[in-house]
Amino acid sequence: MADEQVILITGTRKGIGRYLAHYYAEKAFRVVGCSRGEVDYELDNYRHYCLDVSDESRVKNMFSEIRKLYNRLDILINNAGIASMNHVVLTPLETVHKIINTNYVGTFLFCREAAKLMQKRRYGRIVNFTTVATPLKLEGEAIYASSKAAVASLTEILARELAPFGVTVNAVGPTPIETDLIRSVPKEKIKALLDRQAIHRFGEFRDIANVIDFFISPKSDFVTGQNIYLGGI
């Protein structure tokens, strides 16, 4: 594709999303990002929306602006996500709603709206975020891990539903990466987790970008419905 591709990344205020916004802006993509809060950076190719990913009308409005501005969307990265460590017995229902809304409902909503735009050009790449907490069955992360299991299942089925539109849907499942998301997890727990990986180190932002680069390459048009866990899980 000769002209600039438009990439939409959710959760760009900090952590992995922030890194990805910079990474793809530097690679001359047109980057659209969103998070509940404002971002403290400015980039030439970057446009920010302040919204909650589970707020249907705000999300719809953002997509219609994207359509008016660029009339295309090539790539969607559903990075926005929240976690909460807690024993099930001590988990408030409100927390469950929040996690499901952000991780699952948000991902669904963005996939749906993106598919509408992508199908116009019969081209699209969607990358969702899962986690190693699911296959590792981490105690204390029941709600977080199961919300991401739902994302994994959504990914597999959307891959089939959207294939006729030329849209691939895949997922990347990071191991612990040092962001705010895992700041409250005790050190020994993290250490034990790294020990269960084939490669015992923290994940880096670049590890994720590498998997995403593969999924979003125009050459990866025969790769869909896959979930790649990092670190050897």
Partner: protein, 102 residues
């Protein structure tokens, strides 16, 4: 009545665009009661998705409102609002009303 004409004209613009992008299958007719979807309809499920997206766009251009046509109510109605353009227009006009009031 005028409002209804405006809405139908808007939906017909989606029909035009749908027909322009057509690579296979016959064109959609600008008729209020030709069956769109279902056994004797012109549209297969992909075509329907395509057409609904175009209507959402045209509605937004015309009315400045971003609506979701396939909402919970639409999917659970006994009389499918997707059967004909006439029914679609009826359904969309309800949605627009609700949007204005809420």
């Amino acid at each position: 009545m005028k409002e209804k004409d405006r809405l139908v004209r808007t939906i017909f613009r989606a029909v035009d665009e749908y027909n322009r992008g057509l690579s296979e299958g016959g064109p959609l007719e600008k008729s209020l009661d030709k069956v769109l979807f279902g056994k004797s309809g012109r549209l297969d499920s992909l075509g329907l998705v395509n057409f609904i997206v175009l209507i959402e766009e045209k509605i937004e251009e015309e009315y400045g409102m971003a609506i979701v046509i396939a909402d919970e109510k639409a999917m659970s109605q006994k009389r499918s609002p997707f059967k004909t353009i006439g029914r679609l227009a009826e359904y969309v006009s309800q949605l627009l009303e609700e949007n204005k009031n809420g």
